[in-house]
């Protein structure tokens, strides 16, 4: 490396300093020159002015007189001064003297003439008169000489200063910077960082810039060393990596080539690379594809009709934009055969730039399979729909004849029959009813399977459900010598939200099974609250029996449809095998589950849970009852029952009422305890009637005689005949209240409350009691339009309606019904739903569209349990709904609700009685006949119905109500009896019923029992009288 001398730091520093200083000096000298020149000119002018002052009087004189001699003398004198170059003296226009310095003219030629000094001369004698002028020209030579003198002096001074400063700077640069750097440089030349050499700063220079430079160099060297190591390591890695890369590439190439999907890479719309599968799928050679655009393998249009090229462009653009595309695509092979494919487009970054990777899968086979599957699915759905349709039709087709069978049987039973005929007909009715139940089960199941069963959500009370269950099964249980026990947590008296009918259906099913499969023991229905939710409560129901039980393998398939425990039981016990399957679905719809615990020979426990909504209640009635009983809570209750389960339940129910029980299994044990001296003061005694050994009555009698001040003694009985047997003797036989089993806490409470002087709890409304003959009479004379297309059904319905004196008009379809209504408005329309020409829904809608028929009662008759939905009927504007086959009781109950009374007055007189009534002592037949529209046949039927439905049951029902202290029911019974007997002309009994009603109003059990006793002879007499009908 060659180095020029002027490149060295020292030389450059010198040059810079000298140059800068020299330039500054030049500028300084120039400024000095200018200033000096200006100053010299000024001083020269001043000096000339002063010179003139001294010569002024002489000049004035010379000018005044105009004397040339004097003027010349003066001029020459002035020129002796170096500052003056020329003098000119004038008197007016006249030149008196003009003198110049020798050699001055040449300098004048330079053009550098200084400003001349003019001075006007006044007369020496008159200061106002101008007599002449003198002009002095300054001498530029003199000024220049002065300036150059001054300038040279300053230049000299500056030059010396410059030299001194430059020398000082150079010396310091040499000493402080240049030499150390040179030394460092020499050392650096011999330094090898890889050996770990370190540069040392010159001594004493550790802290200054040189020191820092050395530190930095060392740091840099270290860094350099570091990166050198890194680089070496990286190179090693790369070398080993390259080999691995080659292997990897080969591996991926193999994967790429052997993939079953076509994989290819495109760039700028052209194929760049592809694998073997691509060639197979597209049916081409590599040379057919590389370099060609993908359009080569598109049909002109896609299956949906859009242009392939446009769609493909859009997809590829989106993929290029970084959005991976996945779509189905119609490709075609090189030979033009199309095939369906699934395409994945993705942008990939390779070393050469951005590519588009496409993976194409031939999905022809899959498409075919999908199509087949779709077809199969459609067919299956079609089949299912057809099945549902078939079931709906079947329902209709089966119910229509069933309607005729049951209706006709019922009608037939209402006629006078020989006992044998009556027996046969009763059996026919029972058989058809069970057939109907089976059909209903099947339809229910179909509905559930079709997802068409909707649960209601209405407020209801468990007590109502239990009452219905008790009424339904107690007779059967009694017939088998078994007992039904309700073991219900007393806190469950509140109102729930749910579907009580479906809940009842489940319980009926389970209890029906329990009764069916056991011959002894109890059937216990236990209800327990499970986890309470915010809005709802999970209840667990358990139906327990002591029947034949189930084998484990039978349990497993118990809840599946169409299955039963085994074929032998099917034969022995009958049944469709659908009941439990329906229960299972219903329970599941109620948000619960159903299961069974059983062992053969030891009975079964069926459990199910159901989630019921909680309705806001104004306090629990249990809490109220407990509060009312609180003052008596200290006294125990004596409970005697031979049935341990019933005993436990009674004990539990008492405990739930806040009372303690002293349970005994035999009357003797209870008597023994009561006889002891320290026997507790019982609050009351609760004794079962039927017990081995001492029965309930005997026990109570002995207890009464044993005690000096007897507490209330209550008799419990599960058997209604017992009530009938004991009824009259109640006051004498020594018990204060009769309680019918199964008991519930509220019934228990209501039975004992009057005895303790407490107010009774109101019972939740029970379902409507049986048909009220008083209402039947109200129906008499009403006009009903029957819209029904089937002749048989027309006949059944017409007869059924006419039995209660309803006038029937018939329309064969909806169209006819519209004409009929327009002709004259009936009191009610019974509308079949499925009819030719115009169906019931349409007819109802058209009727409702007419303002004058907006309030016309329309009751739907539906035979189609699947489609004939109650909601659909209501939506069409109908008021109520009766399912076929029609039961007369249901029909009349609904009709009496919708037909307004007051039609009897304009009853058309019927022809005279065709069949004379037999003599009926104690009955005013004339009045009764008038009430029945002078229709003796109807009157006869009404009387027979009154006898069968009312009179025979009245006493027992009333006593039962009394036993439960159910005053409302008692009042209702008495009231309706009064109404019906008076309507039928049995006014004597009507008066008695009136008294009975009055007695019931007092709510005094004894008085009511007395009034009932008064009725008894009349009842017996009436029964005897009416027996001949």
């Amino acid at each position: 490396m060659t180095r020029r001398w002027y490149r060295s730091l020292l030389a450059r520093t010198t040059l810079i300093i000298l140059g800068t200083a020299g330039l500054a000096g030049l500028i300084f000298v120039f400024i000095t020159f200018q200033v000096t020149t200006a100053l010299s000119e000024e001083r020269s002018g001043t000096r000339m002015s002063q010179l003139l002052d001294t010569m002024e009087s002489s000049v004035r004189t010379a000018c005044y007189v105009g004397d040339r001699g004097l003027s010349k003398d003066i001029a020459l004198g002035l020129l002796k001064n170096n500052d003056v170059a020329a003098v000119k003296i004038l008197a007016g226009e006249r030149i008196l003297a003009e003198e110049t310095r020798p050699g001055w003219l040449s300098s004048k030629a330079n053009g550098k003439e200084a400003t001349p000094l003019h001075r006007t001369m006044l007369s020496p004698f008159d200061k106002t008169e101008i007599v002449g002028e003198i002009i002095l020209t300054p001498n530029p030579e003199e000024i220049r000489a002065q300036v150059s003198r001054n300038t040279w002096f300053i230049i000299t001074l500056l030059g010396i200063q410059l030299l001194v400063v430059a020398a000082a700077v150079l010396a310091s640069v040499l000493l402080l910077v240049s030499r150390p750097i040179k030394k460092l440089s020499d050392r650096l030349h011999h330094m090898d960082p890889t050996r770990g050499d370190v540069l040392l700063p010159p001594p004493g220079r550790e802290q200054d810039e040189i020191g820092r430079l050395v530190d930095d160099i060392n740091a840099l060297a270290a860094k350099f060393l570091d990166s050198l190591h890194h680089e070496q390591a990286a190179r090693k890695r790369i070398e080993s990596g390259e080999q691995a890369l080659a292997e990897t590439e080969a591996r991926y190439r193999t994967i790429f080539e052997s993939a079953s999907d076509a994989i290819f890479i495109m760039r700028e719309g052209l194929f760049v690379d592809c694998n073997e599968s691509t060639l197979q799928i597209f049916g081409c050679r590599r040379s057919d594809i590389i370099g060609y655009p993908p359009e080569t393998f598109f049909p002109h249009t896609q299956p949906d009709g859009s242009l392939s090229a446009e769609l493909a462009m859009a997809r590829m653009a989106a993929a290029y934009a970084g959005e991976p595309q996945f779509f189905e695509w119609q490709h075609c092979r090189l030979d033009g055969t199309p095939f369906a494919a699934e395409v994945k487009l993705k942008r990939i970054h390779l070393q050469e730039g951005i590519f588009l990777q496409a993976i194409v899968r031939d999905i022809t086979a899959r498409k075919r399979a999908e199509r087949l599957l779709e077809q199969a699915k459609e067919e299956a759905e079609k089949t299912t729909a057809a099945k549902s349709e078939f079931l709906a039709n079947m329902s209709h087709e089966i119910r229509t004849p069933m309607n005729a069978i049951i209706g006709m049987t019922e009608l037939c039973l209402n006629t006078s029959l020989a006992p044998r005929q009556k027996n046969y007909l009763t059996k026919i009715r029972r058989a058809s009813e069970s057939l109907l139940r089976i059909i209903n089960d099947i339809l229910d199941f179909s509905k559930i399977e079709a997802g068409k069963l909707d649960l209601e959500r209405v407020p209801f009370s468990l007590v109502t459900v239990l009452d219905n269950l008790g009424a339904l099964f107690s007779a059967r249980a009694q017939a088998k010598g078994m007992e039904i026990v309700f073991d219900v947590e007393p806190s469950l008296t509140q109102t729930f939200l749910g579907d009580p009918l479906r809940l009842e259906q489940i319980c009926i099913n389970l209890m029906d099974n329990a009764l069916k499969f056991s011959d002894q023991g109890n059937v216990i229905l236990a209800i327990r609250p499970q986890t309470p939710g915010r809005q709802d409560l999970l209840l667990r129901f358990t139906v327990q029996d002591q029947g034949i039980g189930l084998r484990p393998e039978a349990q497993a398939r118990l809840f599946s449809a169409f299955s039963q425990a085994d074929s032998s039981t099917t034969r022995r016990y009958g049944g469709t095998g659908l009941g439990l399957a329906i229960c299972k679905r219903l329970v599941e719809m109620m948000g619960g589950r159903i299961w069974v615990e059983s062992s053969p020979g030891l009975g079964s426990s069926f459990h199910f849970t159901a989630r019921l909504g909680r309705e806001a209640t104004n306090g629990s009635s249990t809490a109220r009852m407990v509060a009312k009983l609180a003052p008596h809570a200290l006294r125990p209750v004596l409970v005697v029952d031979d049935n341990p389960v019933a005993l436990a339940v009674a004990t539990a129910q008492l405990r739930q009422l806040g009372l303690t029980a002293a349970p005994h299994e035999t009357g003797q044990a209870a008597l023994d305890e009561a006889a002891q001296a320290d026997a507790p003061d019982y609050l009351f005694a609760l004794v079962d009637l039927r017990m081995p050994g001492l029965n309930g009555l005997e026990t109570l009698g002995r207890l009464r005689s044993l005690l000096p001040a007897p507490y209330p003694l209550c008799l419990m009985t599960a058997f209604s005949q017992d009530e009938a047997l004991l009824g009259l003797e109640a006051p004498e036989s020594g018990f204060d209240a009769l309680i019918s089993k199964p008991t519930t806490p509220i019934h228990l409470f209501n039975a004992i409350a009057p005895l303790l002087g407490l107010e009774e709890e109101t019972l939740p409304k029970t379902s409507s009691p049986g048909l009220d003959p008083a209402k039947l009479i109200r129906l008499c004379g009403a006009e009903v339009l029957l819209v029904e297309d089937v002749d048989l059904n027309q006949e059944v319905m017409r007869d059924m309606l006419e039995t209660v004196g309803i006038r029937v008009r018939v329309a064969n379809n909806g169209q006819e019904a519209l004409y009929a209504v327009r002709e004259s408005r009936p009191d009610c329309v019974l509308m079949d739903c499925q009819m030719p020409v115009m169906d019931g829904f349409e007819a109802s809608r058209r009727l409702r569209a007419l303002p004058e028929h907006a309030d016309l009662p329309i009751v739907a008759l539906t035979a189609n349990a699947l489609a004939g939905d109650r909601a659909e009927c209501l939506a069409a504007g109908m008021n109520a709904h009766i399912a076929k086959p029609v039961r007369s009781s249901e029909l009349f109950s609904i009709l009496s609700h919708w037909i307004k009374p007051g039609k009897n007055s304009d009853l058309p007189r019927t022809p005279p009685p065709s069949a004379a009534l037999p003599a009926l002592p104690g009955i005013d037949t004339e009045a009764g006949l008038a009430q029945a529209g002078d229709n003796p046949e109807l009157y006869r039927r009404l009387l027979a119905s009154f006898r069968d439905e009312y009179l025979t049951r009245f006493e027992a029902s009333f006593e039962a109500a009394l036993g439960r202290r159910d005053w409302e029911v008692a009042l209702h019974l008495a009231h309706s009896m009064k109404g019906i007997t008076r309507s039928l002309g049995a006014s004597r009994f009507g008066d008695l019923a009136d008294e009975l009603q009055t007695a019931a109003k007092t709510r005094d059990p004894r008085e009511a029992a007395n009034a009932l006793s008064a009725c008894r002879p009349e009842i017996t007499r009436l029964l005897a009288t009416l027996a001949q009908l």
Partner: protein, 160 residues
Amino acid sequence: MSSAWRWISLSEAAMNLLRKLFQRAFLLPLALLPPALARADMVVIVAPQCEAASLTRREVINIFMGRFRFLPSGQAAKPYDLPAGDPRKERFYLALTGKQLSDIDAYWARLIFTGNTAPPDEAASAEAMVEKIARSPHAIGYIERSQADKRVRIIFEPER
């Protein structure tokens, strides 16, 4: 350096100003002395046959101080002085120009030594003056009013 020089020139200018102020303070009162203070009236006389009827003071001064030696009419004029040491000469010049005789003498001295102009010729006495004037129509001189007679004509009265 330049400022130092500027300071010097400024001080010089200030000194000049001061000097001028001094001159004014001393010279002005002298110049303003009223000519009425002179006791005896001096008059300028010419021969009666002289062409000029009257002369202004400037014309008189111009003639006596050697500027012009002729009358306004163009006729030559020859002034005469009283002898040096005659107090009337001093009074005359003082009345005419307001200057002391020494000043007048200095004035003439400059012209006499280097110039071409000469002072008026001297008459031996006031009487001689009168005579010379009476004789020549070009002659012009000055006397006391009391000395003027019919031979001469008063052409200018410097003290009026």
